[in-house]
């Protein structure tokens, strides 16, 4: 499964006027891995996500996404919706963005828009009520049901998405992203606001997604219990610059990371390291 990189980010730079949010960032996410992007607040993690998913156009740099079949996409050249449609990169948002007035099931069916659009022959066949569209819609519902089952939301399928509890909304957002059949799933702080039990469930869900669906995951997270437990690889950002890159074990012991997070004097690092290990 692993080995080849699915996403290669090279010299990614993003400037907002005089502010350099990301400075020549290069990293790679391996296929079938969970890669975590961590760093203190304001380090530029979400900006990286917005560049990868096309919501920002990077000032410079290259982002190359390779599908298992071998097709490659240069993400910096694609519009946001095309990145989701062609390159099959799905994302969730730091501040949950569901369709609150629509039902949970509808949220998941909207995510399969492009498949259904084709099945409805751009609305015309659907308008006439042809059987092919009905079959496609039933398949879409089946897929939605599958993900509702996996995220434990099956009983809430016909409720408004806005009426779900916070943790359920987070899970629904992941389910919705998975309904687009992504090769790369970008999760922006999926564990934010979750309690310990819910974080545990999230870990299990992400592992399941990686193992059963072969979807590579890119993850921004502050919750170290999530990051350290499930990540195969961690990239640490501080002020838009990569300061460390490695396995959880390596990152845990990296003095630069500890300094960036805790902002301590160099001679105190050993003491802090000891605390982090326990």
């Amino acid at each position: 499964m692993s080995g080849a990189p699915i996403l290669c980010v090279e010299h990614l730079t993003m400037r907002f006027g005089g502010l350099v949010a990301i400075d020549k960032l290069s990293f790679a996410a391996q296929r079938g891995h969970i890669t975590a992007l961590i760093g203190p607040n304001g380090a530029g993690k979400t900006t990286v996500f917005n560049c990868i998913t096309g919501f920002y156009h990077p000032t410079a740099g290259m982002m190359r996404l390779e599908h298992p079949g071998g097709e490659a996409y240069l993400l910096e050249r694609l519009l946001d919706f095309r990145i989701a449609k062609l390159a099959r990169v799905a994302r969730t948002f730091q501040n949950i963005r569901l369709f609150p007035g629509m039902t949970v099931l509808e949220n998941l069916v909207v995510a399969q828009h492009n498949v259904l659009m084709k099945a409805s022959v751009f609305t015309f066949a659907g308008l006439l009520g042809l059987g092919t569209y009905h079959r496609a819609e039933n398949e879409a519902i089946d897929k939605a049901r599958y993900w509702l089952d996996k995220t434990g939301l099956l009983t809430r399928a016909d409720d408004h998405a806005g009426s779900l509890a916070y943790g359920e909304q987070r899970r629904l957002e992941i389910a919705r992203a998975m309904c687009t059949d992504p090769v790369l799933l970008c999760l922006d702080e999926p564990a934010a606001g979750l309690n310990a039990r819910e974080s545990g469930e999230l870990n299990a869900l992400l592992r399941f997604i990686r193992q059963e669906h072969g979807t590579s995951i890119l993850l921004i997270e502050h919750d170290m219990s999530v990051v350290m437990e499930i990540s195969d690889h961690i990239v640490v950002l501080d002020y838009g610059v990569k300061i460390a890159d490695g396995t959880p074990e390596e990152i845990r012991n990296d003095p630069k990371v500890i300094a960036a997070y805790l902002g301590v004097e160099d001679d105190e690092i050993e003491q802090v390291e000891a605390e982090v290990r326990t």
Partner: protein
Amino acid sequence: MRPSVSQTAGTQAVTTKLTFAGALKDAVLAALVAFGLFALMIGLHTDQGPTGALVISTRVQELGIIVGLVFAGALLRALIFGRGPVPFAKLVPAGWGDRAQRFSRFAGPLLLGIAVIWPFAFYHNRYVLDLGILILTYIMLGWGLNIVVGLAGLLDLGYVAFYAVGAYSYALLAQNFSLSFWICLPLAGILAAFWGILLGFPVLRLRGDYLAIVTLAFGEIIRLVLLNWQSFTGGPNGISSIPRPSFFGLPFNDEEDGFAAFFGLEFAPIHRIVFLFYLILVLALITNWVTQRMRRLPIGRAWEAMREDEIACRSLGINTTNTKLTAFAMGAMFGGFAGAFFATRQGFISPESFVFGESALILAIVVLGGMGSQIGVVVAAIVMLGGFELFREFEQYRMLVFGFAMVLIMIWRPRGLVATREPSLHLGKPG
């Protein structure tokens, strides 16, 4: 998801009961404010004197009546409700909201049944038939605008422009090329849809207030062009003697090849009115059918998703540009159909029929009915246009009553008369 009742109920806690003296004080204050407001506006009246010069007369009595009314009203209000917001929700008997929702379930077939027998029930009453046609026209316009505003969430204040495009398309095509109504109707719709897309392009990045301003301007541009392009549109004189529709080739006249003669009926001018009634009924039902159908198709769900969150839509690979343009085009197309119908019914059109007030009225129907609700549009159109007719005798106070009613409805049901949204699909029972 019915915040109206609970919200207003929540504010009751703030309301405090007042003693009579306190209420009196409140009422005096209210009367003073009313006096300050109306002393100049109503108390003084300018008129043309005998010599033609402007003279000022006083209207003490009228001023006294108004201030007295405000005083009495404020006193009653303070005594009954105390200080604080009036719990309007309480004024409506409990359960009415739910009853209205339940009513809306079977209201559709009921109203359709009434519409079908309407021409027979009022066969000899041309006035009532015309009113029915008018209401149906606005229902169709409301349903068309509902696609843009209710489903796609794009606030369009210039919808009447597409109505105008449809009407002028029909009038000009029919007059210059002698095309029949049945050929012109789709052409008018296509042309209006084309203009809808044309409007759509510059406003793709705009939302909310900004979009509203641009669409408002667009509506005015179309009207001004129609008004000033004298050689093409006839300018302020409009276009007259627009061909009347025929019954699939049979004209409504008293000649040998006419509708009445063909069916062996005695000729009556009302035949045409009845035909027009059924024509607009069918057109409106087509609008409704297509909209309902589209809501259950990916494009319709994408419209609603776009209303909820455009950024999330893009993150799911939905092309929001196309989605917006189709919404504008579909809405405009039905506006164009309605316009063509309007032209053939009136036989005469001029830019005066397509002023901003029309856009506002259609938008009010959509918002009052409950954005996105098809049956809501019907109820709102009947209430508003029926209300207009009822108060026709009180011409001067019509807008006053109308405005007051609208404020009350918006307090009682801030999300419109029929606020519930029917999901486009349900998860069937497993297995």
